[in-house]
Symmetry: C2
Subunit: 419 residues, 2 copies
């Protein structure tokens, strides 16, 4: 008997018709002999409506009460989905996050899961029931209702899969899986069949939006196999799992991009020890999430420092930079909001020198200027001009043999990911 | 320090503006020095919308899942009300029924409260917070979410008042209190200042809709003083409490009516022992809530049996009657859906003979024919033709000196209820 945890997002259960469709899928899977736990989000529009109601009452509602409010969205979904399954003559039971034993820390609005006590789910499964669980929510040890923040339902699904020792955690979404690049930009992008946790983490962190970083981290830490697939068809999607390091890895798994960051440059900073520490301590104190950093070579005893940070942090970042500029007697500073980051991700690059050189050459041939560079062992990222991001992504996708009609390219070694 | 439990219904918090208004009332009361617990219902339209969603999915949704669904309505209300109080700069905390320790039996959809563990409310009050509690809901001992059914939020408020030993449970509604008769029918009806539990129970049972029977029963059993008053003004309403029996009671507290019942008559039933038992066992088995029963004097060895029951039970009642008629070889049966019941309620009638006689005379003078009669120690009810119900109520209200301009009437003794 296979134990499957499935997760359906707000779009997948956004209407009465779609709730019936998901109920049908769950029943069919149950009838095939699998034990099924379905984790669901709030119906598509519901969370926005609740947030709007709260914002009509207060511009700064307490996090605890927002959790109390928002947790109702998923509770409506689980009840309706259980009702739909009963209507089709099958047995289902719904549980809220607190009921199912999702224990979190007390950080309302972005709580972290500390434990899953899945006894009640096990009991219901043993009775042959389809179990429906509210995603995105949990409770502290003393019973306060919490929500997990962005990507919370994915994390709930992975956590329950870990708690139950499920065979797979299927994350249903509106695309067929994880692609070698965003198909809206690269029509020749291909769906990836299997990807390692590490690669998926780098792809999620550098812009691939299909799976949430947190849920992939949770899955890696607990060895949960994720199957990311479409809720609108039965095609196999992308499997995220531990990939045997002794097998030969694909050099490049995918090309990602991110246009959500801005670049800040501080000019003519006196070049003495401790300057960078001062700048980034200030950014950290201001809760600015700094990504890439570059410091130019000093010429005349002064230097330029550039860094990127999310545009959503920009107001806080600017305030902090103004203070730093005056404190360090720097000459001036500037912000460029029209930058983009393009990244190559691939576990195989660890053992293949020359990937960076090929990347820079491909970008140069596409007339894309590189502004900043950062690397990890399985990722290379370049900041480029924002209006050249699409040609950069397409050039890299082609250069590394990822286009659909080039699957046999010798630059892309497929062994090791064929299971 | 006074400890006050207040209950606000769906209309009182039906819009963002009204939520702000209730928040203002709660804060003002807190600032006056009282400890405040507010029990709230779902916003006016919310429960209907949730029921409609469920009915689009199933014509027969499981009670457990309906409870899971409907309980979200009150949870939205408590969060929004707590947010509104915070927005005005005061401290509040919301709790669901399960969180606040409302323990119920497992009868989903109409669960009964078995215990209230109000420790968490006491802690929050001790911290100076205004406490907001979701009405209508609780949880079984093993954590299943339940709802209390019709009038559930009133019952929650009374139960929490009992659990906390509150000084008063204020039930806010859209009228100024309990009236001597429905003011829409009797413009001269007066608000009752104080009424005993027993009288209030009889009035609620015989048609007065302001307070739910269950909550009054709960209040009587636990000695909770109810203050039923308007959420739209600050006028004192009606106090429901234990009234000292040694004090002289009002002979008549009010006149009520009920047009929700139908009369069923079975004709020419053989008049032998056990016939009535057969009829009403069948009705009980069919879950028909029989109210008044009359059996005519036998003439030729056969008799007529009439009874009243809620029109909502009529389909089941008719099916059961058909079986009984054939089984008992009765001649025929009929249903009259155009009947009404008018009732006089008053604790003083225990010690004042002649009330029934005066009631029958008043109805006769108003040209209202009496069809059936039933009495308790503090109530007399008559079934009359439905289209004469208004003139019956008005005639009784005047005859017993209840009209507003006759407060000094010697038929109505006010001593004993003036505190």
């Amino acid at each position: 008997m296979t134990l499957v945890v499935q997760k359906y997002g707000g779009t997948s259960i956004g209407t009465v018709e779609r709730i019936h469709a998901v109920a049908g899928k769950l029943i069919a899977r149950r009838l095939s002999g699998d034990d099924i736990v379905a984790v669901v989000s709030a119906m598509g529009h519901v969370t926005d409506e609740l947030v709007s109601l709260a914002s009509q009452i207060s511009s700064d509602p307490p996090d605890r009460e927002m959790d109390m409010l928002l947790a109702t969205g998923e509770q409506v979904s689980i009840a309706l989905l259980a009702i739909a399954i009963h209507e089709k003559g099958h047995d289902a039971v719904s549980f809220t996050g607190p009921q199912v034993g999702i224990v979190t820390d007390p950080v309302h609005g972005k709580a972290k899961i500390q434990a899953v006590r899945a006894d009640r789910v096990r009991e219901a499964l043993a009775q042959g029931k389809i179990v429906i669980v509210a995603g995105f929510q949990g409770a502290t040890a003393d019973g306060q209702i919490t929500t997990l923040g962005r990507g919370g339902s994915d994390t709930t699904a992975v956590a329950i899969a870990a708690g139950l020792g499920a065979d797979v955690c299927e994350i249903y979404t509106d695309v067929d899986g994880v692609y070698t690049a965003d198909p809206r930009i690269v029509p020749a992008a291909r769906k990836i069949d299997v990807i390692s946790y590490e690669e998926m983490l780098e792809m999620a962190a550098s812009g691939a939006g299909v799976l949430q970083l947190r849920s992939v981290e949770f899955a890696r830490n607990h060895g949960v196999v994720i199957h990311c697939r479409s809720s609108f068809n039965d095609h196999p999607g992308t499997i995220v799992k531990e990939v045997d390091e002794t097998m030969e890895q694909a050099i490049i798994s995918g090309v990602t991009y991110d246009i959500s960051e801005a670049k800040i440059t501080i000019r003519d900073v006196p070049d003495r020890p401790g300057v960078a520490a001062t700048v980034f301590t200030r950014m950290s104190d201001a809760n600015v999430n700094v990504d890439m950093i570059i410091q130019n070579v000093s010429e005349d005893g002064s230097t330029d420092i550039s860094f990127t940070a999310p545009k959503t942090d920009l107001t806080r970042a600017k305030r902090a930079v103004e203070e730093v500029v005056s404190e360090l007697h720097a000459r001036t500073w500037s912000v460029d909001e029209s930058v983009a980051k393009v990244s190559l991700v691939g576990a195989g690059m660890k053992t293949h020198p020359g990937v960076a050189a090929q990347m820079f050459r491909a970008l140069a041939e596409a007339d894309v200027n590189i502004d900043m560079i950062s690397t990890s062992s399985i990722r290379i990222s370049c900041v480029v001009e924002g209006d050249k991001v699409e040609q950069a992504v397409r050039a890299l996708h082609t250069s590394f043999g990822l286009d659909a009609d080039e699957q046999a390219s010798d630059m892309r070694t497929l062994s090791g990911r064929g299971e």
